[in-house]
């Protein structure tokens, strides 16, 4: 199952009702113009709300002796029926103050009648009414499931109206308009459902009528109708209809049908003969009709028109979203058992599949056996040499629905052979738990014995093609598979390459030792510690990346000299004054020195110390820095010792801990951290930042240690802090 129960219901409901819903919304939009078309006739009296029956009835009775009925419609137009002086049938809109005829009711528009019948019953009478009622109910359920999806997407109802991440037109406006027209659509659906239930008698609305005790009717004292108390108290605006006495017989009476009750009045004395309240359900039915049709307010009618129009848009955009997702589904050429490259995807709404698919296609095009599936389908992959995990995060840093069992599956199916893995997280910095689930997967994989980290975890913010392209480039370099990145994902390669002048370089006695090299970029070049320097030693596609420490405005690299190493050899050959031409600076914002946080704990092994040297050198005042670094022996540390001692002296560095793996206690940097675990936990509580730079092997060790510290001291997972950039890493 790739989608959550709410998403599934939302889709299933929409698919099952979209035909009728389209029809109902389309006719609904048209019908909302009916109240508007009626209101153009200005038959409504000024200050209508102030007119009482005592003001209007005597005038009408005098002017139209044969009046039989008065009615007030939703537009507050007053209509009378009866016969005129010539005995002809009379039906007219009148001014309730003067009795003057304003106009005659026109025959109801045949067009609106036709559309109304279609809207209510599809011309199928009761059967049609049933289906339309059902559609209204489904619309209600769609609105509810949609609301829940928005709440999930926005991470809580408090953030309901906060910014929405834009993925594409259909998705964005489906959500944006969904939020805006939610209330009118819910009202339409609710009132529509209610009216249907009522129509089928499922909600009981007993009709009431006045019972009159004819023996108790008095014929004295006679009063003028303008003096009847009831007529003085009742305003025309409360009235639905007034039935006039059929004859002058005392047993004939006035029947006032008001909005909430029916009152019968003696035509001679003005006594109230009877009064019955309408049941609440009847009043609510009237109110539902007002809300559903917009007949009482032109403004509301317009709101309803827009809301109905939106439903049409939702149907359209919903289908666009659905088809887009289906297109992203995997169609594997090879089976899981025979594939060397396994791509595991965690995605809530399917968009991550699009990225995964482009990688899958590339691998297949390169003649590789690749298999793409969701994280929940993880099992043993006997031929696998690489696992690529691409995952989004859902809700409050949780797993997407198609990845929620991955953790237990990973534990259940250890791979038989060593497998390289690389994790790519998709997310948005608009949310607080940026890529948390991806960090979690990376940490879980790090703990597995068979899992060999190939790359540092990469993240892609808001589907950035650059960031995705960077990951592809790095991955293909490591896997040595030339992935030609598809045009849409192509990272913008800096056209202008940096020209760097070598200032200084330390000497080593042989391969395996570290040297420092300082390079001066052109004036005005922007870079900072933590950025990367890409060097093209042979001026071809081969790229070598080095972490930059910015010291004295210059680029300082820390390089381990490899035997026949392409990059290290090239750099070691440089002398003071020589020029490095084929290089460029790659921004690496996630690994910059934190702007405000304190303290900062820096952890490195080997040449991973490079960015920290620059950071400590340029440390902002008020931030406490602590460095934990690991080296083979005193000898390999010696190249850094002088600078660090000076930093300590100048109080730029609060503490320095060095672990030697081949000397003395034979410690690794993680052992030092384990010793100081309370300090590490405290730092995270205070909002401090832990920075990690060095080999992936060291990272693997430190990550599992940090995970333990977080769980036991802070009752949280490490990924929680990673998602909040409190634990950042740049390993290789």
């Amino acid at each position: 199952m790739t989608i959550s129960i709410w998403r599934y219901s939302h889709l299933a409901l929409a698919v099952s009702s979209f035909l009728l819903l389209t029809l109902a919304s389309l006719t609904g939009v048209i019908l909302s113009f009916q109240p508007l078309s009626e209101k153009v006739y200005a038959y409504r009296a000024d200050k209508f709300d102030e007119i009482t029956l005592a003001q209007t009835l005597p005038v009408l009775k005098q002017k139209y002796p044969e009046i039989s009925e008065l009615s007030v419609d939703a537009n507050q137009f007053v209509q009378i029926k009866g016969t005129d002086a010539n005995g002809e049938k009379l039906s007219a809109y009148i001014d309730p103050r003067t009795g003057e005829i304003l106009g005659h009711p026109e025959k109801k528009s045949a067009f609106f009648e036709w559309v109304t019948a279609l809207h209510r019953s599809l011309f199928l009478h009761e059967t049609g009414r049933f289906f339309i009622g059902l559609t209204a109910f489904l619309l209600l359920l769609i609105s509810i499931s949609g609301t829940i999806l928005i709440i999930q997407r926005q991470r809580g109802w408090k953030r309901f109206f906060t910014k929405i991440v834009r993925e594409n037109f259909a998705q964005y406006y489906h959500v944006v308009l969904g939020r805006l027209s939610l209330i009118p659509i819910c009202i339409l659906a609710l009132t529509g459902t209610y009216l249907s239930l009522n129509r089928f008698g499922l909600i009981e609305t007993p009709q009431v009528s006045s019972k009159i005790d004819f023996d108790a009717i008095r014929s004295a004292p006679e009063k003028q109708i303008e003096d009847f108390d009831i007529f003085k108290n009742v305003k025309l605006s409360q009235v639905k209809t007034i039935e006039f006495p059929f004859s002058e017989d005392v047993e004939d009476y006035y029947t006032l049908k008001l909005s909430d009750r029916e009152v019968t009045v003696n035509q001679i004395t003005g006594d109230i003969l009877g009064e019955v309240k309408y049941p609440a359900t009847a009043v609510f039915t009237e109110f539902s009709l007002d809300l559903h049709t917009g007949r009482t307010s032109a403004l509301w009618a317009i709101v309803l028109a827009v809301a109905s129009g939106n439903i049409l848009f939702f149907i359209y955009s919903g289908f666009v979203i659905m088809f887009r997702r289906r297109r992203n589904r995997a169609k594997n050429k090879y089976t899981a058992k025979e594939s060397e490259f396994i791509i595991l995807v965690g995605s809530e709404n399917g968009s991550t599949f699009g990225f995964a698919n482009s990688v899958y296609q590339q691998l297949i095009a390169n003649g590789k056996t690749a298999y793409m599936t969701e994280l929940n389908a993880y099992k043993d992959f006997p031929k696998a040499s690489h696992i690529i995990v691409m995952s989004a995060t859902y809700g409050m840093g949780d797993a997407p629905t198609n990845a929620n069992h991955f953790a237990s599956l990973l534990h259940k199916y250890p791979q038989e052979q060593p497998v390289h893995f690389s994790v790519l997280g998709f997310g948005s910095h608009s949310y607080p738990d940026f890529c948390q689930f991806a960090f979690e997967i990376d940490n879980l994989l790090s703990k597995e014995k068979w899992a060999v980290p190939m790359l540092e975890i990469h993240t892609v913010n808001d589907k950035s093609p650059q960031e995705f392209g960077e990951w592809i480039t790095t991955w293909s370099q490591h896997a040595e598979i030339p992935l030609t990145v598809s045009a849409g994902f192509l990272p913008v390669r800096q056209e202008r390459e940096e020209v760097l002048t070598v200032i200084d370089k330390t000497e080593v006695s042989g391969p395996g030792e570290d040297f420092l090299i300082r390079l001066r970029p052109k004036r005005g070049t922007k870079f900072t510690s933590g950025d990367l320097l890409a060097i093209y030693p042979a001026n071809d596609h081969r790229e070598r990346l080095y972490s930059i420490g910015k010291v004295g405005g210059e680029i300082q690299l820390s390089v381990k000299l490899h035997d026949k190493g392409l990059g290290s050899d090239y750099l070691y050959r440089q002398q003071a004054g020589s020029v490095v031409r084929h290089a460029r600076i790659v921004g690496n914002a996630h690994f910059h020195f934190p702007e405000k946080a304190s303290p900062v704990i820096m952890i490195s092994n080997g040449t991973g110390i490079a960015p920290f040297l620059g950071m400590i050198y340029e440390r902002r005042p008020g931030t406490d820095c602590y460095l934990y670094c690991g080296f083979r022996d005193q000898q390999s540390f010696s190249v850094y010792r002088q600078a660090l001692d000076q930093n300590l002296e100048e109080k730029k560095l609060g503490g320095l801990q060095v672990a030697y793996s081949r000397e003395g206690a034979r410690q690794y940097v993680k052992d030092l951290l384990a010793r100081d675990e309370t300090f590490v936990a405290d730092a995270l509580v205070k909002g401090g930042v832990i920075m990690l730079c060095g080999s992936l092997a060291m990272q693997k060790d430190v990550v599992s240690l940090l995970e333990n510290i977080c769980q036991s001291h802070l009752k949280r997972s490490l990924s929680y802090y990673q998602a909040r950039s409190q634990v950042v890493m740049d390993c290789y």
Binding site: E66, S68, E69, K81, K89, H125, Q207, S209, F246
Partner: protein
């Protein structure tokens, strides 16, 4: 001139002055105001047709039709047979349908000669997806019934008349 011929002249003037004649081919007609009070049934508006029935029990004339949409006329089965056979222009004697609990007051004309002459008034009613009543109410056309209250058997609670 005798009083009788004066009256006749006056009536002649009325005939030509008023667009709708109160006389037809010299035969006297009377106008009656008729109130139909409906029961509190649930459902759509009722279609009601008021017809004059001759002594043989056959339709003689349509007096009034409550309900203006022709597509429902076939639900008034018996009357519709007569109407289909002898179509007449009923637009002047057609009004709106009536819903449960409501009343409808209309005016129709009856040839005076047919009162107390063995004719009957029939009120026939039908409601969408509900029962059809051939004789919701059928009363002899007499001076007595025209002054009283007549109880219906279907959707009609009662009918009252008054001379107009």
């Amino acid at each position: 001139m005798s009083n009788l011929s004066k009256a006749a002249l006056f009536l002649m003037v009325l005939t030509f002055a008023s667009p709708v004649s109160t006389f037809a081919q010299g035969t006297g007609t009377s106008k009656y105001k008729c109130m139909i009070q409906m029961t509190n049934y649930m459902g759509e508006g009722a279609y009601v047709v008021i017809s004059l029935i001759n002594s043989k029990g056959a339709y003689d004339k349509t007096l009034y039709v409550l309900g203006s949409d022709k597509k429902w006329y076939k639900t008034l089965k018996e009357w519709n047979k007569f109407y289909a056979k002898k179509p007449s222009n009923i637009s002047a004697i057609t009004g709106a349908s009536v819903t449960g609990g409501d009343r409808s007051v209309n005016v129709f004309e009856i040839e005076t000669s047919k009162i107390n002459a063995g004719y009957k008034l029939r009120f026939e009613s039908a409601v969408e997806d509900k029962n059809y009543n051939v004789k919701d109410l059928e009363i002899p056309l007499t001076t007595e019934t025209l002054s009283g209250k007549n109880e219906g058997t279907g959707y009609i609670r009662y009918v009252r008349f008054s001379p107009n």
